[in-house]
């Protein structure tokens, strides 16, 4: 192993401490002068100082005991809960929980004091004389190495592993296959993706329901400059699968002057300047929530992808890779806004099967 690397050895520096030995004839100024003599601390030579240190250590331990009693007292005295009466004003922290503050401080002090006492004890009263321990090479001696190899060869020979190829090969095969069972067992962790990511709850004729009021909306409810969040009709917060449904179906509605809409298709997919876009960012799926009224830009607060809603949801800044999908809307006979179908593209982040 070492001989393969033929160019390395000769360029290694001399072994460490080489200038400690032979060179010393010249009076090597850099030679190791050896461990300097131990210097005594005050507490080593002055019994009064040592006694004082002992008292200091004991004071720390006593403080710890007092703090532990304080902890138990705080636990009994103060009430938990967020109400103002359970808080205390401490500058500059503001109103903080009495219980949390007192428990934390007393616990902290009771622990810190033990540590401080122990460290002070070690630094002042325990011997600080340095000792020298020898290191021993980690590598085994050549004899041991030879013995191990001989033992191994002996064992290998006795097993017949190298000679009986049939046993060896079938064993390797069996060992390689047996983990497959474990892999197979993980199959039922979840369903296959199939086309699940391609569609949402939106369908032709589903009315747009205001997320806040839970009422269907008319175009006149959407004013210029506002950002309104909506969900498909029939989707309720109490539904079993509400979270999964809304994770894809959440939309936002904006209204702009028809003249401001740069993208013709986009304008046609809206209704009288009311445009409906997916709320789910096409980067990694955060809900978009920041709307700039003047420019009709929306910004995802997670990674700052910026989309231009007046231009078909085009990405104008940030890490998102494709435009926000737009939902084609119109009004039904009663004048309520409704979807004309599902999104034409999968909503949310990109994935391999997305075309």
């Amino acid at each position: 192993m070492t001989s393969q690397d033929n160019m390395s050895e000769e360029h290694l520096p001399e072994a460490h401490g080489a200038h400690g030995g032979e060179l010393a004839v010249h009076g090597d100024a850099f030679a190791d002068p050896g461990l300097p003599p131990h210097e005594h601390r005050r507490t080593d030579i002055d019994e009064h100082a040592a006694a004082r240190a002992e008292r200091q250590v004991a004071m720390w331990f006593l403080l710890s005991m007092v703090a532990t009693i304080g902890f138990i007292a705080s636990y009994v005295l103060f009430k938990p809960g967020p109400e103002l009466k359970n808080t205390v004003y401490i500058f500059p922290l503001g109103h903080i929980s009495k219980l949390n503050f007192s428990l934390g401080m007393t616990l902290g002090i009771s622990l810190f004091a033990i540590g401080a006492g122990a460290v002070h004890w070690a630094r002042t009263l325990m011997s600080d004389e340095e000792h020298i321990a020898e290191r021993h090479p980690i590598e085994a001696s050549p004899e041991v190495r030879e013995q191990v190899f001989a033992d191994f060869r002996q064992g290998a020979k006795e097993s017949g592993f190298g000679r009986r190829k049939l046993i060896r090969n079938t064993m390797i095969g069996a060992m390689a296959m047996v983990p497959l069972s474990a892999v197979v067992l993980f199959r039922d962790l979840g369903p296959l993706p199939e086309k699940k990511l391609d569609s949402t709850e939106w369908a032709k004729g589903k009315r747009l329901v205001n997320m806040n009021t839970n009422e269907p909306m008319k175009a006149s409810d959407i004013t210029v400059g506002s950002l309104t969040f909506a969900k498909p009709e029939g989707v309720e917060e109490s539904d079993e699968d509400f979270q999964e449904v809304i994770a894809k179906a959440a939309v936002m509605l904006v209204r702009m002057q028809p003249a401001d809409i740069k993208d013709q298709t986009s304008a046609e997919w809206g209704y009288e300047g009311v445009l409906c876009y997916s709320k789910i960012c096409t980067h990694v799926g955060c809900p978009i929530s920041l709307y700039e009224q003047q420019t009709h830009h929306v910004l995802c607060p997670c990674h700052q992808s910026t989309f231009d809603l007046s231009d078909g949801g085009r990405v104008i800044f940030g890490p998102a890779g494709h435009p926000l999908p737009q939902l084609q809307i119109s009004v039904n006979g009663d004048g309520y806004l409704e979807a004309l179908g599902d999104f034409s593209k999968p909503v949310g982040p990109g994935f391999w099967e997305r075309s």
């Binding site: 002090i109 004091a113 789910i280 607060p301 982040p349 099967e353």
Partner: protein, 558 residues
């Protein structure tokens, strides 16, 4: 101590009377008997002989690893307490508890039980905050501890495997932290889990499958919190505990490294014994760390989940930031342009997938470095004396470049905060970070390398011309000089104790018979790297004793 010499038959101890009369001896005798009992069954004396008075060297930076160990213990202690109250379920309930602003709101049981821990269990909030603060300290301490090991070259043979153990602990610690703060199922952490879905979806071919399997269906499903819970409290901590024990066993087995100094060689270790000094100091330090974290948790709120509200996939708060140790991955994802390749009915989401790969690369580089340096130097010897960072300029520069990259990504991960707090354009910050991503490490590398070489030059001056005393002397002819004072023999030895490698040279292009030699690309790369590590531009030749003798022997003295 009484001697207990004769190895008489076991069981003889009862009538083994030692005729002492002083107080305390009986007690000591009892202790000895108990120890004998244990030794007879476990054979502890061999272990104790080697370790009770084991010598550890002293240096402040050796405490960093201790902080990791202690914060890990604190996390386990507080974590066990939290499991007694936490419900890892995504089943929905309507809240009617003591935190009135959320009354009547639908939320998962995970979120509700976290609210209960915070507001109804006395001390629950404190333990939660200690758990979270300790996790923050844990990862930070691991990173800084790793820097200490890196910059002093403590990862060299025989400690490369322990470096890998440490790396794995850092890696697992980060992810366990991420899973931990995801468990309460609040609006902020849910956004993090959604981000994870997007990142997984970006993986070519397998992305959608992994996402479906991980979440048990479509995002968010009902499985991710209970699954994270098992991984967070059992699987990863279990692996980490094993790695930690192995890490510590190796520290004991290799014996600790030490800095160069008088009396210190590659063959010894100089310091103070485990019993009593380090039992008291290290044991005490556990209480200091725990105490400080408890006091921080008493006054500084961390992850106030009640302020974020329960998770809803269609809602988000601004300032969505992960915990600090995930910040660099957040930065990667934020500065990446939104590249997507669409062809043949498929999408390759490079805008997310490339950051995911770079994230892995940033981590792998740490793990691989010791092996890279070992390959360049070709050094197969054991190293127990630590390097001063200046004496390994390329390594130090590489490490600082890595930190610079990490720091830039951390800033990029909080670009919205920088924008709002400093009133800057978010686009400008993002663009600055994009450029700095490439330029920053190069600048950091160059500055650090030059800095190291400057310090080497200064060391050389100090060795040859002594220390500047600040005392100005006027010579008879009017000239002012500053008096230089020779360094002490201890200082001289310490500064010159490091070794300097010679760069590897390629063999001549043609051999002695005029035949063109074949030199593999790998060898050429290695020679070039070796040249950049140890060539003239990378180190100042350290003074020789002869140079020193010549200058100090009379004439050169000023």
């Amino acid at each position: 101590m009484t001697t207990h010499a004769e190895p008489t038959a076991v069981g003889d101890h009862d009538d083994h009377q030692v005729g002492h009369s002083e107080a305390g001896v009986d007690q000591a005798h009892l202790g000895e008997k108990a120890a004998d009992w244990v030794d007879g069954r476990l054979g502890i004396y061999g272990l104790a002989k080697a370790n009770l008075r084991k010598i550890f060297p002293d240096h402040w930076s050796f405490m960093l690893g201790e902080i990791c160990l202690y914060s890990f213990i604190i996390i386990i202690l507080t974590g066990v307490y939290l499991t007694l109250f936490f419900t890892p379920s995504m089943g929905e309930v309507v809240y009617h508890g003591s935190y009135t602003p959320l009354n009547g709101i639908r939320m998962s049981e995970a979120y509700k039980s976290t609210l209960d821990i915070s507001f109804d269990v006395r001390g629950g909030l404190l333990i939660r905050q200690i758990h979270h603060w300790a996790a923050i300290v844990f990862v930070a301490a691991m990173l800084v501890h790793m820097m200490r090991v890196f910059f002093t070259g403590a990862f060299r043979k025989p400690r490369e495997i322990n470096w890998l153990f440490g790396f794995l602990l850092l890696f697992l610690g980060m992810f366990d932290g991420f899973m931990g703060y995801s468990l309460p199922d609040d609006l902020l952490s849910g956004t993090g889990i959604r981000f994870m879905e997007g990142a997984i979806l970006s993986m070519p071919i397998v992305g959608t499958y992994i996402a479906m399997f991980l979440y048990g269906g479509q995002f968010p499903g009902n499985d991710i919190i209970p699954r994270f819970y098992t991984i967070h409290v059992l699987l990863i901590p279990g692996i980490m505990l094993g790695l930690l024990v192995a890490h510590l066993i190796l520290v004991f087995y290799h014996k600790h490294t030490q800095f160069a100094g008088p009396g210190r060689t590659e063959k010894n270790v100089i310091g103070m014994p485990l019993m009593p000094v380090y039992m008291a100091k290290a044991g005490g330090f556990f209480f200091l760390v725990f105490g400080v974290i408890a006091m921080v948790s008493a006054i500084a709120s961390v992850n106030p989940i009640w302020a974020y509200g329960p998770y809803r996939p269609d809602q988000v708060s601004t300032d969505a930031q992960p915990d600090w140790y995930m910040g660099f991955s957040e930065g990667l994802i934020r500065i990446m342009p939104g590249w997507e390749i669409r062809a043949f009915g498929h999408t390759l989401v490079l805008g997310v997938f490339i950051p995911l790969m770079i994230f892995g690369l940033v981590m792998i580089v740490i793990a691989a470095y010791p092996f890279l340096e070992g390959w360049i130097t070709g050094d197969k010897r054991e190293h127990h004396i630590l390097d001063r960072p200046r004496n390994a300029p390329m390594r130090t520069a590489f490490g600082v470049a890595w930190i610079a990259e990490y720091g830039i990504l951390l800033v990029a991960g909080g670009n919205d905060l920088f924008a709002t707090h400093f009133n800057l354009s978010i686009n400008t910050i993002t663009w600055a970070c994009r450029i700095l991503f490439f330029v920053g490490p190069v600048i950091a590398f160059t500055i650090t390398k030059r800095w190291c070489i400057g310090l080497q030059r200064r060391d050389r001056d100090k060795v040859l011309h002594g220390r500047e005393t600040g005392t100005i002397k006027r010579l008879p002819h009017g000239e002012f000089i500053e008096v230089h004072e020779q360094l002490s023999p201890e200082a001289l030895h310490t500064i010159t104790a490091h070794e300097q490698f010679q760069p590897m040279e390629l063999p001549a292009e043609v051999d002695e018979n005029g035949v063109k030699r074949k030199v593999s690309l790998l060898t050429k790369t290695r020679a070039r790297l070796s040249q950049s590590y140890f060539g003239e531009a990378a180190q100042i030749p350290k003074p020789t004793p002869e140079e020193h003798a010549e200058i100090t022997s009379g004439h050169g003295h000023h």
